[in-house]
Subunit: 342 residues, 2 copies
């Protein structure tokens, strides 16, 4: 029996998936924890251990990361090294295999020597797993912070971008998410009192406030700190959204605030739909959108608007990865590698 722990070490969340393998997944468990690496990077090792402690043990670990982009690090080289150091110290006996953007594993030493090969590879893990299950698809993973849109054709991952800037340019990385995104980065103007009001360039409200108020996310989904530090309730979310137009919940009616929230949600769907069509235009024939992540509901709306058939990732791969698809995928891919070697 092969037992593997998969890691997806982000800048704001650390996610893990443990799986037991005997030619297929025999058991799967996942765990995750919000962890803002730019606030306290020195506690990363401790955070990793606390997550691992919630799962059965595994000596073999598969690693993807995006935390190297956080401004706790002067550059990605420093970030990749720091994450690998933290893993090595947290799990001294573990065998670490680092997933490369191109779709194969490498050693920690090689990852350090060619850090751009392993930086921000989490989308590649999900995409390579998905490509084993469907010949053609557009993967749409909307997380708390970012969105990955990856075309798959003839059973191959057709991504054009390798590094984050290349992926932004290709439209395969959309820097918008269902929870942490500052609303001021989603929309420039919102409806107010019959006009269109520019929004304050502050950190007053996030996507999570919009979806909490609209009922798309629950307070339990709101796993990051709120901008004003108050709880994830509809009332406080409304107060945060009122500040977007430099108002407060006394100056605006509930309908005023709901109209703001709906406009933000609409802007985000439109943004994802536009990116989806851009990526889809590269495929020779129409393919279904395969959606996953905390913001899968946004992906479904965007895909529906584009007239795409929409399927959940879980329906394709046969297990429910929750909101930690890259962690599950990278564990799965490493289990397969172990099996092939054996």
């Amino acid at each position: 029996l092969i037992q593997v722990l998969g890691w997806d070490i982000g800048g704001a969340n650390v996610k893990a998936a443990w799986l037991e393998w005997d030619g297929g997944i025999r058991a799967l468990r996942t765990a995750s924890r919000p962890f803002e690496i730019w606030r306290r990077k020195e506690e990363l090792g401790e955070a990793l251990r606390s997550i691992a402690a919630k799962l059965p043990p595994a000596r073999s670990m598969a690693v993807t990361m995006t935390a190297e982009l956080a401004d706790a690090f002067r550059n990605k080289r420093e970030g990749v090294s720091f994450v690998l150091d933290s893993l090595a110290v947290a799990f001294p006996g573990a065998e670490l295999r680092i997933f490369k953007v191109e779709g194969a594993f490498t050693s920690s030493a090689e990852a350090r020597a060619d850090h751009l090969a392993v930086a921000a590879s989490n989308w590649a893990a999900t995409a390579h797993l998905l490509a084993q299950h469907v010949p053609a698809a557009i993967m749409v993973d909307i997380g708390s912070t970012t969105t990955d849109l990856i075309p798959i054709a003839a059973g191959r991952v057709m991504a054009r971008g390798r590094t984050d800037p290349e992926r932004l340019l290709a439209g395969e990385l959309l820097y918008t998410g269902a929870l942490r995104t500052n609303v001021a980065a989603i929309i420039q103007r919102v409806p107010l009192w019959g006009g269109e009001c520019p929004v304050a360039a502050e950190y007053f409200a996030i996507a999570g406030d919009v979806y909490l108020l609209l009922g798309d996310l629950s307070p339990q989904d709101y796993t990051c700190p709120s901008p004003d530090g108050r709880p994830p309730t509809a009332q406080f979310a409304a107060e945060r959204l009122a500040r977007l137009v430099c108002a407060d919940a006394e100056m605006l009616s509930r309908d005023d605030i709901l109209a703001v929230a709906r406009a933000v949600a609409e802007a985000q769907v439109a943004q994802v739909a536009a990116a989806l069509q851009r990526v889809a235009a590269r495929l020779e024939r129409q393919a279904p959108a395969i959606v996953t992540g905390l913001g899968a509901f946004i992906a479904r709306r965007a895909a529906g608007r584009c007239g795409f058939e929409t399927l959940d990732l879980s329906a394709i791969v046969g297990v429910e990865p929750g909101n930690v698809a890259p962690a599950v995928a990278v564990a799965w891919l490493l289990a397969q590698e172990h099996e092939h070697r054996a």
Copy 2:
């Protein structure tokens, strides 16, 4: 001899101006301090006292504020009250006169009873002072965080907006500034490698990084914390700007990063120019742009682009208010009131 202390109590900066008056300004001194009220509002009184201690004493105090918008407060009512409480505790013997948006002073008690009459009145102080000196003008005060564009005609302040949301809708408040503004709220795409790259919706770089790198601001002007906590040097500013496209200073050349900075600066000039033309369209005849604030250099560029005659506020009013024009103006207006009463 009349001695007055003027306050402009913002959410990120507290500014003060002391002046001595005998039918005109006989002496003027100013002081200011960055103070992020959303992080530690309970220390406001102490901050006020530390600023007052840098200036000669004055029992008579004129007050404007914008801090009530900060999300340390659930609403503006709470914010206005808190600021007035802090002043009363910090300066027990002082006579506090609160400036109203409509252009007159009121008591603390009346300000509490009608808090929207005194919230965000700092622009009104500068505009009313300016209207005493020029019959027609467009005042453009670009601060660290926001921009005020106020038309003056026939010696009267012609603002349409009273509250912040009204002012945003009227184009008289532009939520963009020369220092603190998140670049992700200024521009959506920047030039990169021959394409246009969407920027990361994070808090990676601010306007101050752009202007530091381009030489428009000095490290001494960069009075707020930087997004990554590192110093205000050109090298660190470049590293922060590289993160905008999810890159780092190893992946990008110095020219790549300069092109990003120039695009952000250009977007901000274009935004101010558009707002300036919108406000100017309300005047019957062409009027000069009167510029002030830390971002006066942006205002000058925008006004020049619109073909407007441009003058510094100091040239019009005959004193140099530095970057604290509203504090000077509110002190000046209160000194005049004392004189008229006497």
